[in-house]
């Protein structure tokens, strides 16, 4: 899995790891958009360039085994990767692909990843990640979830 430095086009291999207790000192609301300390009891992952300590993206999730589903609770990029002047591309996509891998590994052909964005950005997620819409919930299932994994898992 990799991300793209927009200014150079260079690709950087990334790793996605569980957030540990020390990370919460750095996961401030100013830089990472949400109060991540409230997610301490959840399953939370961070995205880093391999060999770097700088957290570029974070996702928290809830596994719902009786629905063969993983629901994304919060997902964000770091401050400098927001907006038109962002440094790296593909951070959110890699995080969604990672959650998709967790779901397919656990639930196989029944796997589902869901999230519930606000109306104004839902269309972006539908178009970019080929998500299905049900009410206010967007979801990835087979076959789209496999396409997304293949797209990012290289």
């Amino acid at each position: 899995m990799n991300i793209v430095e927009i200014s150079t086009g260079n690709l950087y291999d990334i790793e996605i790891l569980p957030v540990d207790g020390n990370d919460y000192k750095f996961l401030t609301k100013g830089r990472y958009f949400f109060n991540w300390k409230l997610e301490k009891e959840q399953e939370v992952y961070k995205l880093l360039i391999q060999g770097s300590n700088e957290i570029l993206g974070v996702v928290s999730l809830e596994r719902i085994p009786n629905e063969w589903r993983i629901h994304i609770r919060l997902i964000t990029v770091s401050g400098e990767n927001r907006g038109k002047k962002k440094r790296y591309d593909k951070i959110i996509g890699n995080l969604i692909a990672y959650v998709s891998k967790l779901a397919v590994e656990e639930f196989g052909e029944l796997a589902c990843v869901s999230l519930k964005p606000k109306t104004q950005i839902a269309q972006h997620y539908i178009e970019k990640y080929n998500m299905n819409t049900t009410g206010i919930t967007l979801s990835l299932e087979v076959p789209e979830i496999l396409d997304l994994i293949n797209q990012y898992d290289n």
Binding site: I75, R82, V104, E109, P117, I121, G135
Partner: protein, 170 residues
């Protein structure tokens, strides 16, 4: 679409009621969509699941005596074939050999694993990027984990046979 909006989503449910209501609607829609899945799409999902399970095992080895290689082999066969005997025919092995292998009554030979690698290369083509050598890695990882988790059983007996005479003189 302006990609600058892609900076974060707060997707938490506001209440238990909202979650339950959305869950019911989502499940109904998913069940409807699942009816349209082809056998090929289901098979692809199972193969990707197997690949991810094997990769996870290699990254996070489990130190016990469980037979992961044969577990993965069984999942692989069941993902593709309705009968194990069909796999045996395609692999040019006897059903008896396959049965003994799957039931852990015999070890896989090199030739079997090599054939399995060739079979996997073909089965995973157009599904996902599968490293066929993972079969070998799983097999040896399992051997290492099995040996190390049982060291209390084999070490005392073998330790008596090992000397470091010359080395200790220096």
């Amino acid at each position: 679409m302006d990609e600058s909006i892609e900076h974060g989503v707060d997707s938490r449910y506001h209440s238990k009621e909202e979650q339950e209501s959305e869950s019911v609607k989502l499940m109904q829609a998913r069940l409807d969509r699942m009816k349209n899945l082809s056998k090929g799409q289901v098979r692809s999902a199972k193969l990707v699941q197997l690949k991810l399970k094997m990769e996870n095992y290699l990254k996070n080895p489990v130190y016990d005596s469980h037979n992961y290689f044969t577990d993965f082999l069984r999942i692989y066969i069941d993902s593709i074939y309705s009968k194990h005997s069909e796999f045996a025919v395609d692999m040019n092995i006897t059903p008896v050999f396959l049965s003994q292998l799957i039931n852990n009554h015999r070890e896989p030979k090199d030739e079997f694993i090599m054939k399995l690698m060739i079979h996997s290369e073909k089965a995973f083509a157009n599904v996902c990027d599968f490293q066929e050598e993972n079969w070998y890695q799983v097999y040896f990882q399992e051997k290492i984990c099995d040996t190390m988790s049982n060291r209390e059983k084999w070490k005392p007996k073998l330790e008596k046979q090992i000397k470091l005479g010359k080395l200790l003189e220096i």
